[in-house]
């Protein structure tokens, strides 16, 4: 019998591979090693074959490539058919994709023809040492509870995985693997949707998910005027301004800045949170930060408990003091 | 969409009064529609906690078997608090733990829903999340209501307004003036959750038993009082105070509530509990003197909207049930006679006058004014009682006879015995 395979969807948008694919590749490698199996990347699109080797660099043993004009941009029906067909043929043990718009959509559409169990938006994945089953842990009920889910018999064990929770493995150009080219049976005439246009977000230069340094303000900041203290600190640190949901609801900052469950998940090297109480909905978005500094005037604020360094105090005293200190060290 | 058909009766408000009215009218085969502004009946309602059951039982025999009741109240405690001391007068009887029971603590969100469902089962149509904005009048006769929804006018032969103490509809219809700040009070309540066994041990309860407490001395001289009721796994703690007094003293209800909760005599009752709900509601204060004209052409007023409640006994919801029922019965009679004029509906007033409702209301009519005129009752008297009894009970080598004399002298410094006698006499006069 062939080795159990862990499949990772390599998500690409207009030919650009999303980083989360490599986060998953790292995880996939780990799971495959636990299973004594192999990792395969699934790369679907048009004129994407050249990029397949990247998958080796991040840990794949194999890459299945389906390259076809009908797959130029993401379409549920076209992608789901193509991928479900090869999954039926090769029978992976585990199949992971990112819990992005694309991944969530595609995973739902693929699981049904495969009759597979699918768990959405997982935050923890591990192989149970005894049963060798994939244990998939995810938040539910708006983050109020966590559930661990597994799947006894149906295969593959499918999961979509929340982006930015896992580290990207070291890129290793010495690694190699095999490319297996597959085809799709659908023709353009079979596909019932067509892209008319794509309108990129204007001024969507804030990409908080990729920021290395996030200075976040919450309701404690009060109003747009007061946000200046946060912005000034972000400026001297070269960081990005983040926020909790009330500031977005109040129209003080656009949604692109919101950290948390219904906002963005960040994994910065430094997170500074001021005037944020630490509702679980916010915490799930920032707990992956390496260094966390929290300022709150309420000593019982929950966010202080997830901080490396907590300060009980008025953010309007502390933040400007930090800004000043940095300026003087930088000599500006 | 087709126009809405005409109803025999429109009831505004699915509180105890409205649901009782709808229930009896629907049972008699009338076409009844009830409007409730809340998401469901009870969702916006609160009260202290006790539903005296006699009236409900007449409408729905053995109601406790299906109604969501909390605890059968077997004890009434009067608790006079000052500083670090409290004097308790309590009456407990196991008889109240047996059918037909005297009263239950209930939570309105559940109870009102159940009660309204009884009216629905009898055939009434309940429309929630719909605010009645005004009464539709035609030549002095009420012919329907205007709701806040599109295409929202509904017509009927008769309307029963059971909108509670706010009484905006009847005010806007010119039936009464804006309530004066001494006619209405505000009630504030917290629902405090604690484990069942803790609660039962704390109040010495078994099974379904519960207690109610009336607490004097914590309203800073304002007309009103503090109450505490035990529910299954929660305690209802709150106070009622006259709006005029609150305003005059510049108190914020919230702050007063916090003070009450941290009072050394109260805190042990709620220790370890967590507040799961905070609500405020208006309450009629004056009783009889404020009652507006209740019977109009095509229109009856019932429950708190009629300013019918009894401050002294803490009754309200049961009176609302009775008034609602009598109003409903009057409409049934009016339908039979084909006369919805004030005259045709006047049997409501007659029935009210003949019932305990109006008799009690008349009896106690001076009571609110009496309380309001005697802030000492709310403040000084609990203090005097505590000082006197504490002194008397302190074993410090003084002969008791001499001690009693000395204590009485202390009391006299604060309030002359004649003054006390006068207060008591006046109090007796207003309720006699």
């Amino acid at each position: 019998m062939s080795k159990p395979a862990v499949w990772i969807l390599i998500e690409q948008n207009d030919g650009v591979i999303a980083d989360v694919s490599w986060e998953l590749m790292g995880k996939g490698r780990e799971l495959a090693d636990d299973l004594g199996g192999e990792v395969a990347g699934i790369l679907v699109g048009h004129n994407v074959k050249d990029q397949a080797k990247e998958a080796y660099y991040y840990g794949a043993d194999k890459v299945y490539v389906i390259d076809d004009p009908t797959l130029e941009y993401y379409r549920t029906q076209a992608y789901a058919h193509a991928i479900a067909d090869i999954a039926k043929k090769h029978k992976p043990e585990v199949f992971l994709m990112a819990a992005t718009s694309l991944g969530r959509d595609l995973s739902g559409a693929i699981a049904t023809p495969l009759g597979a169990g699918l768990t959405a938006d997982c935050t923890v994945l591990e192989i149970d040492p005894e049963t060798k089953l994939l244990h998939q842990t995810r938040p539910a009920f708006g983050g109020n509870i966590m559930a661990t889910i597994y799947c006894q018999t149906a295969r593959p064990q499918m999961a979509s995985v929340r982006p930015r929770l896992l580290p990207i493995p070291e890129r290793d150009e010495t690694r190699t693997g095999t490319i297996i080219e597959e085809t799709t049976s659908l023709t353009e005439a079979d596909i019932k949707t067509r892209r008319v246009e794509f309108i990129p977000d204007e001024g969507a230069t804030v990409n908080i998910e990729d920021a290395e340094c996030v200075i976040a303000g919450g309701r404690g900041v009060g109003n747009a005027e007061n946000l200046k203290v946060i912005e000034e600190l972000a400026a001297v640190l070269g960081g990005t301004v983040g926020c909790s949901r009330p500031l977005v609801d109040a129209g003080i900052l656009p949604h692109a800045h919101q950290v948390g469950m219904s906002g963005h998940t960040i994994r910065p090297k430094l997170y500074i949170g001021a005037g944020i109480s630490g509702a679980i909905h916010h915490v799930v978005g920032m707990e992956g930060a390496d260094l966390t500094i929290v300022i709150n005037k309420d000593p019982d604020a929950a966010l202080l408990k997830v901080a490396d360094y907590g300060v009980v105090g008025n953010l309007f005293d502390i933040i400007p003091a930090i800004t000043k200190e940095i300026k003087s060290r930088k000599g500006v | 969409m087709a126009a809405i058909e005409k109803y025999d009766l429109i009831v505004v408000g699915a509180g105890p009064a409205g649901s009782a009215a709808a229930l009896v009218a629907a049972r008699a085969g009338l076409k009844v529609i009830i409007f409730e502004r809340g998401e469901f009946p009870g969702s916006k309602n609160m009260f202290g906690g006790v539903l005296f059951g006699h009236e409900i039982n007449e409408l729905i025999p053995n109601y406790w078997e299906t109604a969501p009741v909390e605890r059968a109240l077997i004890e009434e405690r009067y608790f006079l608090v000052s500083g670090n001391s409290a004097t308790t007068i309590a009456m407990r009887t196991k008889d109240f733990a047996e059918p037909p029971y005297n009263g239950f603590s209930v939570l309105r969100a559940r109870f009102d829903k159940w009660f309204a469902d009884q009216a629905v089962e009898a055939g009434a149509l309940l429309v929630c999340e719909t605010l009645v904005e005004s009464l539709i009048m035609d030549h002095g006769k009420c012919v329907g209501v205007k709701t806040g929804r599109a295409d929202g006018d509904v017509y009927a032969d008769c309307v029963i307004v059971a909108e509670g103490a706010n009484s905006l509809l009847t005010r806007d219809a010119g039936i009464h003036a804006e309530w004066k700040t001494n006619e209405v009070g505000v009630g504030v309540k917290e629902l405090i959750k604690m484990p069942k066994d803790v609660l039962e041990n704390r109040f010495n309860l078994t099974g379904q038993e519960g207690v109610s407490m009336r607490i004097l001395g914590l309203t800073k001289g304002m007309t009103g009082g503090v109450f505490l009721y035990t529910n299954k796994e929660t305690v209802s703690l709150g106070f009622v105070a006259m709006i005029e007094d609150l305003a005059a003293r510049g108190f914020k209800p919230n702050d007063l509530m916090e003070e009450i909760k941290s009072n050394p005599m109260i805190a042990p009752f709620i220790e370890g509990g967590s507040t799961v709900e905070y609500t405020a509601h208006m309450v009629p204060e004056q009783g009889y003197k404020s009652v507006p004209r209740l019977v109009h052409d095509g229109l009856l007023i019932a429950g708190d909207a009629a300013m019918i409640s009894n401050l002294l006994t803490g009754e309200g919801a049961n009176l609302a049930v009775t008034t609602g029922r009598l109003a409903g019965e009057a409409v049934v009679a009016a339908k039979a006679a084909g006369d919805y004029s004030a005259l045709g509906l006047y049997s409501y007033q007659n029935a009210l006058d003949a019932s305990y409702v109006m008799k009690d209301l008349k009896q106690f009519k001076g009571f609110a004014g009496y309380l309001h005129g005697n802030p000492d009752l709310m403040d000084l008297y609990p203090q005097l009682a505590n000082e006197f009894l504490k002194g008397l009970l302190t074993a410090d080598g003084t002969p008791r006879g001499a001690k009693a004399k000395a204590l009485l002298a202390e009391v006299k410094k604060k309030k002359s015995l004649f003054g006390i006698a006068k207060d008591l006499w006046r109090g007796w006069r207003v309720i006699k």
Partner: protein, 271 residues
Amino acid sequence: MRLVVCLKQVPDASEVKIDPIKGTMVRAGVPSIANPYDMHALEEALRLKDKYGARVSILTMGPPQATDVIKRAVSLGADDGVLLSDRAFAGSDTLATSYILAQAIRKMGEEEPVDVVLCGKMAIDGDTAQVGPGIGSRLDCAVTTYVVGVRSLDKDKKTLVVERRLERGVEVVEADMPVLLTVNKEANEIRYAALPALIESIKYEVPVWTAGDVQLDLAQCGLKGSPTQVKKIFPPPQKDIETVMVTDTISDPAQIAKLLVDKIEEAGMLA
């Protein structure tokens, strides 16, 4: 034209708690609501009805009291609805749910063909967003997810053009009908029911279909048809961190700032 909206009744997520000792979900007393995303799907359907004329039917799978959400939909302008309710459906995961719903939509289509199926982007109890695409692939029809608005609909050509919200922009897609849409909250504002419709909805008797009413392979329904199993549920973990409370030892803002900036510098963030 026939539109079907998949509308789920869910517990109000903001009120669901977990019993810290037993590790089970405390659902008692938690109010049930119509899944908010599905209400936006309904509103989108009603707008299509207003503009192009259509019959809007609701499909709900759930316990008997889930008729409430169908009535609510009817009060807003849906024409009719069906509740799928059967013990055999209990415990369905997304795979089984999409199967049952798809079969029910097929049955609805026998009576009058279905042109558009609208789902919410996701249900707030499971937060999976899987059922919509799942139904789509079972029906083998066009699928467009995360719809924030329908631009136009051509009844003759049987196509519609929708806008989809993606991470970095809006994609405009033309789809052939029948099509399945999943709808985002930003798509629209939900209307307020007019009184006559509200009264009609209270009187509306919701048809209930049990397993026998729909052509179903029972092995694919309920717990039996659900490959995923819940191993355990637990409260969200607190990050296991030793927090240094700076203010336990220093109170002067300038001193606090010095210490914090030291740490920031150590982390290599001052370069």
